[in-house]
Subunit: 135 residues, 2 copies
Amino acid sequence: MEPPYTIRPIGYVESSLVEQGTAPKQGFEGAPDAWLVFDPDLAEGIRDLRVGADIFVVTWLHQARRDVLAVHPRDDPRNPLTGVFSTRSQDRPNPIGLHRVQVVAIDELRLLVHNLEALNGTPIVDVKPVLADGR
Amino acid sequence: MEPPYTIRPIGYVESSLVEQGTAPKQGFEGAPDAWLVFDPDLAEGIRDLRVGADIFVVTWLHQARRDVLAVHPRDDPRNPLTGVFSTRSQDRPNPIGLHRVQVVAIDELRLLVHNLEALNGTPIVDVKPVLADGR
């Protein structure tokens, strides 16, 4: 494979969060439960996910800006301009989101997770188990 | 942005690991220190990274297979076939690698990190700070 590389979503987030301005910055800051809805063609890939599993959800932050290299963290102008790779800003050259969540229910191709700060309709690009030491 | 999405590497891994068969599966399993070498155009984005920082390095596992939905974990046929989203296998629909490492030295556009299991030449697609609670 030679760059650029192509990402195809494996599913989408279904959430009550619809507006970026009011969304929490991080999942532990009052984000709601949300459904991860997977492409039926990928059912084999999710078949071993279980209620209680700690997972990393990797998303594509489709409303982000990709031409930004420094931001005021947390969109607060009082915070000094900071290189994006030292922040969790959605605005970055490859707008990948990383969310650590727990699976709390499973309904066929849908996983319910706690405290996900991603907006409704956010594409999901990968899911990985959290390893025993949190990595 | 509409799918498919396009990823452009922000840099590359420089490592003594050159062969997939002998590479450790995870960073804590004896992986070497490695350099993250960034695109000069993105210098502003890395300017606030410091020695001692814990970061997630997001890579594109360019030698992976994308048509695999179940694997024998750790390439061991004694392990039962498992849906890829319950494993850290490099083979998965969007072959994104996630590596939690510590920055141990900085030389302009190059960051030295401890225990990175990515092969030499692996494209880097994002870097994020690890938050205080390990997320």
